[in-house]
Each structure stands twice: as C-alpha cells, then as structure tokens.
C-alpha cells in the first residue's frame, strides 16, 4: 500500500470559528450527561448546606456506589448486546452470603478445610462461583435462545432464595478485619512515611489542613498521564493527515476534565486518602473503557447489538460472545457482592435487594439504548454517580425513602426521554 499525504485544508479564520462553534455544540450534546451530573451536584451542595462536597461525604458517595458502578460495567455490555440481567442483585447477595459462610459461618477453621476460610482464598472462590453463575444463565440465553429477561428473572428468584437458605435466614458476621479492609480500608501514605513527613500537613500558608500525600501524587500523575496521552493521540492523527477537533475545544475539554479530577483528588487527599475500593474500581473502569473502545471483542459486542444477523454473517460467533458477556457479568456481580458485604461487615439475607434496578437505571441514564448496540462506559459511570449523588443528597436532606424512589424513577424517565428526543432530532 502506498502512503499518500493528505492535505489538511487551510481555513480562513471565519471557517475556523464556525468549526469551533459546531464542535462546541456537538460536544455539549456529548457532554450533556457530565454537565447534568455537575448541575445535580451543585444543586445538592446548596440544598444540603455544603455537606455534599465535604471530603468525608464525597468519599462516602464513592464507597456507597462502588458496587453499583462495578456491576454497571458488566451490565453495559449486557445491554449493548441487546440483553438484560435482572439477577445481579440476588447474585451479589448470594456471593456475600457464601463469603460469610466460608470465612465465618461454617467454622471451617478447625477442620481440614481451614484454608478455605482464608479471606483471599474465599474471595477467589466467590469470584469463580460468580463466573459459573453467569455461565449457567448465559448458557440458556446464548445457546438455547431463551430470552435473557426470563432466564435472569428466574436467576433473581433462585439466588435470593439460596441466599436465605445458606444464611439460615439470619445475618452472619462479622467478617475478619482483613476482608473488611477491601471496602473500609484506605491506602497507606507510603510517600509521607518515606519522606519522613507523616502525617503530612499542608504549610500553614496554604491552610494547614492534613493531606494524604500519596493520594495527591498518584492523582497528579494520573492527570499528567491523561493530558500527555490525549496530546499524543492528537499529534498522531494530525501526522497521518486527519483533522482533529479545533484546538480551543480540545484544550478546554482537557482542562475541565483535568480540573475535575484534581479537585476530586484533592478532596480525597484531605480526608483519609484513596479508598482501596476506588483503586479496584478505577482499574476496572479503565479496563472496560479499553475493552469497549479498542478491542475486537468490544467492537463485536457493539456489532452484535446493532444487527445480530449482520454480525453473524460477518463471521462473529454471536453465541459464544453472549455466553462470555454473561460470565463477565457474573464475575462482576460477585465482586460487587464481596465489596458490599465487606462494607457492611456482615452478610445479611437482604443484601443486594434492588441493586439490579440501580445498575440498570445507571446504564440507561448513561445513554445506552434498550434496543442494543449503543452505550458508553463513561456514560454508565456518570449515570451511576447521578443516582448515587441523588441518593446521598436526598438522604442528607431528610427526604423519605418513598419519595426518593419517586424522584429517581422520574429522573430515569426524563433522562431516557431526553436521549431519545435528542437522537430523533440529530
């Protein structure tokens, strides 16, 4: 193949301005969701008299939503593929119960199976079991074409029932502290210790508040890496002769994202630092962004959701792909179940009840289409945060659970109506 140099068209200032405005409008539409999240946060910041943005509360919002976000990552793939999974809440509850029985309930410590009660081993077993649960459901959906709605509705009942059964109807706990650390723990401030400055406090001139140095530096590195990577991608495109978005838009966008992350990191650092869960969650989010945007598997999932017959005739093994998607969902549900159990400290029969609704709502608020083929990781994460911030804000305001549900339901409807309207227009 010969490489041709493509001329980047030279533009007049007027044209450049028009392009900038056009790009701004497209971006506004694309980033509508993040703006909505910011607006909701600002609203609750006032409505709760400034409690929302307090470091301790913001950290809490993340801890409270981590398991929803983790399940939303799997649910996004399920929904893009044109399916649904109603069983995730029950599966998460069941896995929490299984973990409790392995570590505490069955008193394995005094038997030859003692090694199974080791938190690490038990957690590993739980994740594997989650994968098998996903496989069991995915098998019927993928290879026998039973509608996912029905298979997972059955799963929802089965695993809720099994949760009650193995717990004997009561709460089992407490979990060993090492395991609780998964949710309740924070990374140690290695950096400050190494520098001999622990516990570190900002200089008095800057307010003198305590600062988790490691968290702050890790955040800073992340932001710098983000900026460098986006600039490199942009350069690469231009070097190959492709147009990229106008520079002002690019700069503003990157600056806003960087500023948001920095603000967030700073807030975290001024409390106890990075929660362990946040690290797990960030790695998973990054992994799924990569899978959906850059890998052939991700592309195939979108193609299958967009037109299954065409995907099949293009050589995509749609059955196997569906099967894998449900295994992935099972594994993530298990992980979420562990995190939730670790956060509560005990496994309760009610754990996970209604999670599936928050997870599905997050994905749809995040712009996924119920018809399949459309959806973004970023959208789902933001969708989960919108729900999370609303839950948190409304609780602080003292709005009753009943009304919270009404409001959440209406927000879900409004978000999807807005999305559909927007798509029909554009």
């Amino acid at each position: 193949m010969t490489t041709e140099t493509v001329q980047v068209p030279v533009r007049t200032p007027q044209q450049r301005q028009a392009a900038t405005i056009e790009a701004l409008l497209t971006n506004l539409r694309d980033y509508g969701l993040i703006l909505a999240l910011i607006a909701i946060m600002i609203f609750f910041q006032f409505a709760t008299n400034g409690v929302l943005f307090k470091p301790v509360n913001l950290t809490n919002v993340i801890l409270q939503n981590s398991y929803i976000i983790i399940m939303a990552l799997g649910m996004l793939l399920v929904i893009i593929a044109g399916h649904i999974d109603l069983s995730v809440g029950s599966v998460a509850g069941f896995i929490g119960a299984l973990a409790a029985m392995l570590m505490v309930g069955w008193n394995l410590d005094d038997t030859q199976w003692a090694f199974l009660s080791n938190p690490l081993v038990a957690a590993f077993i739980c994740v594997v079991v989650g994968g098998f649960i996903g496989a069991a459901q995915g098998y019927w959906i993928a290879y026998h074409r039973i509608p996912s709605f029905i298979v997972t509705l059955a799963g929802m009942l089965v695993f809720r029932g099994l949760t009650l059964t193995i717990l004997g109807g009561k709460s089992i706990g407490p979990f060993p502290p090492e395991f609780q650390g998964l949710s309740a723990g924070y990374i140690t401030d290695y950096l400050a210790t190494w520098l001999g400055m622990a516990p570190y406090k900002l200089p008095l001139a800057l307010g003198g508040t305590p600062l988790h140095l490691t968290t702050f530096v890790v955040g800073l590195i992340a932001v710098v890496a983000f900026v460098l990577v986006t600039i490199r991608t942009r350069r690469n495109r231009e070097a190959r002769g492709y147009e990229s978005e106008p520079f002002p838009i690019f700069a503003i966008k990157s600056a806003i994202i960087a500023a948001l992350v920095l603000f967030f990191v700073y807030t975290m650092s001024s409390y106890k630092g990075l929660p362990n869960v946040l690290i797990v969650m960030s790695i998973l989010i990054a992994l799924f962004v990569f899978i959906t945007k850059r890998t052939t598997i991700g592309r195939r999932v979108y193609a299958m959701g967009g037109n299954e017959k065409a995907a099949k005739l293009s050589g995509i093994k749609t059955d196997r792909l569906t099967f894998l998607i449900f295994i992935n969902m099972g594994i993530l549900s298990a992980l979420a179940g562990l995190i939730f159990a670790a956060r509560l400290g005990t496994a309760t029969p009610k754990a996970g009840t209604g999670f599936e609704l928050d997870v599905i709502a997050a994905v749809f608020i995040g712009g996924a289409s119920a018809m399949g083929g459309v959806g973004q990781v970023a959208g789902s994460v933001i969708g989960a945060f919108i729900i999370g911030v609303m839950n948190n804000g409304m609780s602080i305001m003292g709005i009753s659970i009943d009304w919270q549900q009404v409001i959440k339901g209406l927000v879900l409807l409004a978000a999807v109506v807005f999305d559909v309207y927007n798509k029909n227009k554009g």
Binding site: M1, T296, N307, A310, L313, G315
Partner: protein, 510 residues
C-alpha cells in the same frame, strides 16, 4: 359483452431515482380472470400496491376508475371497502390465531367491541365451505399447510364481500394438487361474477384460467393479449424483449483454473423439515470468472448461497466444497471467511449492515484482524482502511463517520461490498448486488465486479434481472425449485433461453 369494472389509466409512479411505473394501462371486465406477467421488477407489485391504496392517491399520477367512479384510495381500508382485496405472496396470517380469528381479523363480528364468537364461527364455516376447505374454524393457522392457508386468505377476502380479487403469485409455494384446486376455485368465482387479477410466472396455469393477459416490462404495459392469442413464445418475447444498450462496463475475461467446486449440495428448510431447498446442486467457478445464477424469486438461489456460506440457512446440509482442489470445511461463517469465501447479502439492511454504526466500523467488521494486533484495534490503521475503501468504491458520504443508516441504497451497497473486499476473499458470492439501487450506482457496482474478476477473483452473481446477468457474467446457471435446470455460456445465452429453461422445468415439475 360484460362491462368493465376497473380502469387504470396512465399510471405513473416514481421512487427517488427510479421510474417504477410509466403510463401503465389496465382494464378489467366483470367476471374476468386477468393475468399479469412480467419479470421481477417489471412493476407488477407496484401496480397492485397503487390499486389497493398501499401507495395512496397523490403519490402517483394517473387515474383509477372503479365501476365508472374515480377512486382516490388513501389506504388499504378504502380499497377493501370497495371490494378490492389483495392477497400477497407472503401470506398475512397470524400463525398462532385460529382460522376464524384470522378470517375476521381487523373486521371482527363485534358489537361495542365484544366479539360474537358463535356467529363468527357460523359465518366462518360458511366461508370455508365456499372455498372448499374442510377444516374446523378453530384450528390454529400454524397447524395447516400453505395450500390451506392460501384458502383461508381467500375466505378472508370473501368475508369482505370481494368484487375484485388480486392474487400475487398464489401458487408459488403450493403443490400441484393444491394449485389445481385453487385455480378451480377461481373459475368458480368467475361464475359468480367476481373478477380476478392473477399475477403469476407459471404460463401453463395462466393459459388454463386466464381470459386476458397483460404483459409488463420495465414499468410499462407492453401489450394485452386475448385468450386465443396466448402462447409461450409470444409471452416470453414480450416479457424480456428489451433492447440492450451499454449499461455494462466492457470486460476482457481472463479465465483460469477451477477455484471453487461445489458437489452434490443439498439442504432442507429450517422449519419445514421435509422441504428440500437445495437439491443436489453442482457448480464450479474458475479464477477470474463471473458466474451467474438465474432464476425466479423463490427458486432457492439465496437459500443455496447462504447454506454454502457457513450454514447460515437451512438444516441437514450435505455436500462437498473444494477450493483450489482441496476439500474445505465451511461449516461456520468464520471458517468460510478464513478459506476466502465472502457472501454479500441480498438484504443489506437486515443482513449486511449495522445501520446504527458508521461506515468505518462496518467496513472492518468482517476482518477485524486486519486492523488489530492481539485483539487491540489500531484506530488509525482502521481509519486509513476505511478511507481507502471509501475512495476505491466511491462511497458518497460526508466522511467515514457517517451512519450507514443515513446512506442511499447504492452507497450502502458499496459499504457492504467494501466490507467483503477488505476481507480479501478468493470467491465472492454477490446476491442481488444491484437490487433497489439507481442506474448510475448499478454501473459502478458492475465496474467493481469487473475489476475484481480482472484481479483473478472467482465471482458468483445471483440476480433476478436477466439482462444484468447476460451483461456481466461469463457463464450462467439456471435454477428452479432448488435445482440447477440449465447451464449456458453467456455469449450463447439469451433471456428467452433462460426463461425457457425455467418454464420447461416448471412444466416438468407440474
């Protein structure tokens, strides 16, 4: 002499870029069976859709007079109220409802929305008796065969007090016995003064029942013949006798060794286990050769091609496929693609494209390995590829980021072609590659085909347009009812010859 009940005058109907009907005239007498014949795409179905109001008044020009009154139908309801009922080739019955529920569907025997089932059943029995169907009206449609379903459709038409019955290829999927029964029924209706328009390819049937026959070609009425003028030769000449101009790019075939050989290929219908859709088919394709498969709609060409391409259609598929002298396994689509076989579907919207995604992602879908390493897609390589094919196949779009759902038919077809060209196949099966696209885009597609043949690819073209097959292929197989019934060099072939092969096979079968 009976009176004229329907007059269609100067009917012209255009779709974007295509003149589907041009000054078509048709007149039907009371109690007459009037046959309409023509090639696929000649405009028969369009004409009937105009008549029944599917295309409402104002979307065409010309005049429809029914019983002397000008009609301005706005939908199928308007024409049905006048007693004009159309029965489509694909039956419009709900399989899981009973015979009587289907007969009165949309026209229920109800008062204040409450259905009187006992009266419905009584009337259904009467209607079934009239059409000679001896079945309980409460039987589900799915439990009776196609022939009987056809009769249910006719009973349904009778329930609407039909005066003019339109049948679109009613015997296409019927057995000989069922067809004969149906034709007898039409003759009986004729005695009762019901007129009938019969669209059919089966000339023996037409000569048996029709009083007159109107021949359509390229959206124009060629002639209307009386019963005593009807002959096979006359009809075939009128059907296909179009002058060939240079609608096809010139080509110098350079034909090499046999690339693909299919032997004794047979397959059965996915639902009706005893219906064989491919009957021991043998074909060969050589390097640089363009081979056509001719046949009427429903002759089993698509079913054959799809069963060959990774068993995408049918069950109990048997037969051997040899590529360059080596036997190959084509039991899944992925394997077929790996062996260098590509199939470009006849239905690009349902089977070819992800309409909600853009051009770039569609082009690379069948060969993601070509733009990725270890499962990770190289975005810029993909973009280069998409742009290269956009230029090569001349896809007209704002960029490769345009959604394929927003492209015109011709450009969509070029995207599907690009997808398969990027998969770099040795054998390319093109199913109706120019269906529903305008003349200009057709020429471009023909040029691409010619170029691919010159590059040494082996190409199979399935087409219902005989002129197209004669124009672009080197050799033609004729297929009928799942069987190869003729093979000829394109240079010696003619539309008459192809038609004759089909009609002969039809006559032998019936």
């Amino acid at each position: 002499m009976s009176s004229t009940i329907l007059e269609m005058r100067d009917i012209t109907k255009t779709f974007p870029g295509v003149k589907a009907l041009q000054n078509v005239n048709l007149s039907i007498d009371q109690g007459e069976i009037h046959a309409i014949v023509g090639e696929n795409g000649a405009g028969k179905s369009t004409l009937m859709k105009v008549l029944s109001g599917v295309y409402p008044y104002g979307s065409y020009t010309g005049e429809i007079r029914y019983n002397g009154v000008e009609c301005k139908f706005n939908g199928i309801h308007d024409s049905e109220r006048m007693g004009i009922v159309i029965i489509h080739q694909e039956l419009a019955l709900v399989p899981l409802l009973s015979i009587m529920e289907n007969i009165f569907l949309g026209n229920e025997n109800a008062r204040y929305g409450v259905i009187d089932w006992s009266d419905s059943e009584r009337r259904a029995r009467e209607l079934l008796k009239k059409v000679g169907l001896n079945e309980d009206p409460r039987t589900l449609i799915t439990h009776i065969g196609t022939g009987k379903q056809q009769l249910v459709e006719i009973a349904k038409a009778l329930s609407k007090e039909v005066k003019l019955l339109i049948l679109d290829e009613p015997t296409a999927s019927l057995s000989e016995k069922d067809s004969a029964a149906l034709l007898d029924l039409l003759l009986e209706f004729k005695q009762q003064g019901i007129s009938c328009i019969l669209i059919s390819h089966k000339l023996n049937e037409i000569s048996r029942v029709a009083d007159r026959i109107t021949i359509l070609r390229d959206g124009q009425t060629i002639e209307t013949l009386n019963k005593d003028q009807i002959s096979e030769d006359r009809i075939i000449t009128s059907m296909v006798g179009r002058p060939l101009d240079d609608r096809f790019p010139p080509r110098e075939p350079k034909i090499g060794d046999v690339v693909l050989e299919v032997k004794n290929w047979s397959a059965y219908h996915p639902l009706h286990a005893d219906r064989q859709v491919s009957k021991s088919i043998d074909i060969t394709v050589r390097k640089g050769e363009v081979v056509g498969i001719a046949g009427l709609m429903g002759s089993g060409r698509t079913e054959f091609a799809m069963s060959l391409f990774g068993r995408s259609y049918g069950r109990r598929i048997t037969g051997d496929v040899t590529l360059n002298g080596r036997k190959i396994d084509v039991s899944t689509v992925a394997r077929a693609i790996d062996h260098g076989i590509a199939y470009v579907t006849e239905d690009r919207k349902a089977y070819g494209l992800n309409l909600i995604d853009h051009i770039k992602h569609n082009i690379t879908l069948a060969n993601l390995g070509g733009v990725s390493r270890l499962g990770v897609i190289d975005d810029l390589r993909e973009l280069d590829t998409a742009n290269e094919f956009r230029k090569k196949t001349n896809i007209r779009s704002s960029s490769v980021y345009q959604k394929t759902g927003n492209l015109s038919g011709g450009n969509q077809q070029k995207v599907v072609l690009s997808k398969w060209l990027f998969a770099n196949p040795e054998v390319l099966i093109l199913d109706e590659p120019t269906r529903g696209i305008d003349v200009g885009a057709k020429y471009e597609i023909y040029s691409i085909i010619a170029r691919l043949a010159a590059e040494g690819k082996a190409i199979i073209v399935i087409s219902s347009e005989m002129a197209e097959l004669l124009g672009i292929t080197d050799r033609i197989y004729v297929m009928n009812e799942g069987r190869i019934v003729g093979e000829m060099q394109s240079s010696e072939a003619s539309q008459e010859k192809i038609m004759r092969a089909i009609v002969r096979a039809e006559a032998k079968a019936s």
